[in-house]
């Protein structure tokens, strides 16, 4: 199925209709319509306080909506018909600190009516078998997070909801987690992944929903959100290159980048496959081509545009890291 097509009901795992949650007069989630399709990795993006976790909690039946509705796996959120078919890690793992990682999962396996082997499988899948006998309270943040993901995998559920699963993981752990998510999707699971790591979402998600201020600003494939790639051509004389580009691509698709006055560049909004045609036309019209590049917006640029937040400067990131 084309990811941009309207899916039929059998292909939809999560669908919300004007889902709303109000706290003391403030709309934490405001009429959100989102659709998660079977077998996809859906990235749910938004800045802190945007309403991501509240939305996910409503989908799990932990929080009651103030308005609108949601269908998860064809049923009402929080009902046994739904919860026994999904696994979730929501806003940090919630476990009994006095129990070992294994005993915590054994407790949850009893809730689910699962055999003992399900616990061992889940622990192995997140690479926690060696430390499974240690008390949960002695775990590092990354190990707690991995145990949370293991709990979400118990019973091999159809839908897996992961809220910031890479929180606290080191780079290797993050890479492992990404690989795990991709492998789960390949096995036929549907993954609803909330994350603030844009590169991570861009890398592994099929479709993305961007929420800000409680409202869903966009929902589409990553490619569609990033839009058409642009050609950036440095050619002289500039006037002749602009005239040729405007003739082929239309006036609106062409502008001039004067960032480097010594080599002004002609930017053209056209699909990348038209590159040979444009270059040939420019040369035929007597322009000298010095550089041809394809430029694409990153998901981060789209995100900051839609959420209205400023893209952080590298120095800010360094400060935050400290």
């Amino acid at each position: 199925m084309d990811l941009t097509d309207e899916p039929d009901d059998t292909e939809v795992v999560v669908r919300t209709d004007a889902l709303t949650k109000t706290y003391a007069g403030r709309r934490a989630v405001d009429a959100v319509d989102l659709t998660v399709r079977r077998g996809e990795i859906y990235g749910f993006l938004g800045p802190n306080g945007a309403g991501k976790t509240t939305t996910l909690r409503m989908l799990l039946g932990l929080v009651r909506p103030t308005g609108g509705s949601a269908r998860v796996l064809g049923g009402h959120p929080g009902t046994p018909e739904v919860t026994h078919r999904l696994g979730a890690l929501i806003e940090g793992p919630g476990f009994y600190p006095y129990l070992s990682g294994r005993a915590n999962l054994e407790t949850l396996a009893r809730y689910r009516g699962l055999p003992h082997s399900a616990v061992a499988d889940a622990l192995a899948r997140v690479g926690l078998t060696d430390r499974a006998g240690d008390k949960f309270r002695s775990y590092s943040l990354g190990m707690k997070q991995r145990l949370g993901v293991a709990a979400a995998l118990l019973g091999d559920p159809e839908l897996i909801v992961l809220d910031e699963p890479t929180n606290g993981l080191d780079p290797a752990g993050m890479a492992d987690m990404r690989a795990l998510v991709v492998a789960l999707a390949r096995d036929g699971h549907t993954i609803l992944l909330s994350s603030h790591l844009l590169a991570e979402v861009e890398e592994i998600c099929d479709r993305v929903g961007i929420i800000a201020g409680g409202r869903l600003r966009a929902e589409s494939t990553v490619a569609e959100l990033r839009g058409t790639s642009r050609l950036r051509i440095v050619a002289t004389p500039t006037e002749r290159a602009v005239a040729t580009a405007q003739r082929l691509a239309g006036r609106a698709a062409v502008d001039v980048d004067l960032g480097d006055p010594a080599a002004p560049a002609v930017r053209i909004d056209v699909p990348a496959e038209r590159t040979p045609e444009l270059v040939a036309a420019l040369v035929a019209d007597g322009a000298a081509i010095h550089d041809v590049r394809r430029t694409e917006r990153t998901l981060a640029e789209v995100f900051f545009e839609m959420t209205g937040s400023a893209e952080p400067e590298p120095t800010d990131l360094l400060e935050a890291a400290r």
Binding site: G94, L99, R110, G113, G188
Partner: protein
Amino acid sequence: MSTTTALPSARYGVARAWRAETFRLRRWTAVWVLAAAWLLLDALFTFVFNWVSYASGSTNFSNQGESKADLLASILPGALAENLPQGMPLFGGALMMVLGAIIAGNGYGWGTWKTVFTQGPSRTSTVLGSILATMTAVLALLVVTIALDVAFSLVIAGAESQSVHLPTAAAMGKSILAALMVMEMWALAGYLLGTVARNPAVSIGLGLVWNMVIENLLRGVGNSLHAVAVLTHFLPGTSAGSLVGRLAGIDPVNATPGVFDTLGTARAVVTVAIYLAAFPVLAGWVLRRRDVA
């Protein structure tokens, strides 16, 4: 893909939740500490201190005015029906309230309610399973208490060369019923407090102040104000104390603090039974309706 389990019916949901909760309660040190504290208090105040007083001929606050023969009789198997529930309205009840409060209240701080509410059983089944597991823990502790009391009284009878006369089955049955109702009532009160406060520390503090201080103060004020006295007749402490006093046939003059004869047997049974039903229903209602963060 998917070894997803069959959909649990409501009954199986409760059973699964009960199994899961008993599994994790058995491994919780705090539960064992509370149980040990109760058994130690029971052994010391019911048997050890009185036996030492008997053997040494000294008196303590609980046996002043009693003859040596009465003192010995009070710790022999024949007094089991009276001894078993005596410490439960006040001290045992307080410990059981702490148990209920930590079981329900810690789920908020640890975030475990949100985890277990997404495991399959409905919220109602999950809460019911948790409440039943709490009640099972109390029942198990009562069984151990009975065994401990029997063992102590038999050891004392043997050591003092006394013949063994056991209470009648009816007397023992009423005593066990009173003990069970009172201990369960306080545990469920703690469970409700832990649920409402979403926090074990606040609920334990409130519960203990209520159980150990406020009800006693109100009963004191009730001596001079009739309206307050009437009010105290509906309170859990007075009801539990009266239930133990009446069903176990204890003379309140020589009884452990917290044992009364304020209410008649039927009134005490009914009031405690209402609390036994109301506390879990209220806790379940709150947990079922509440947003879980």
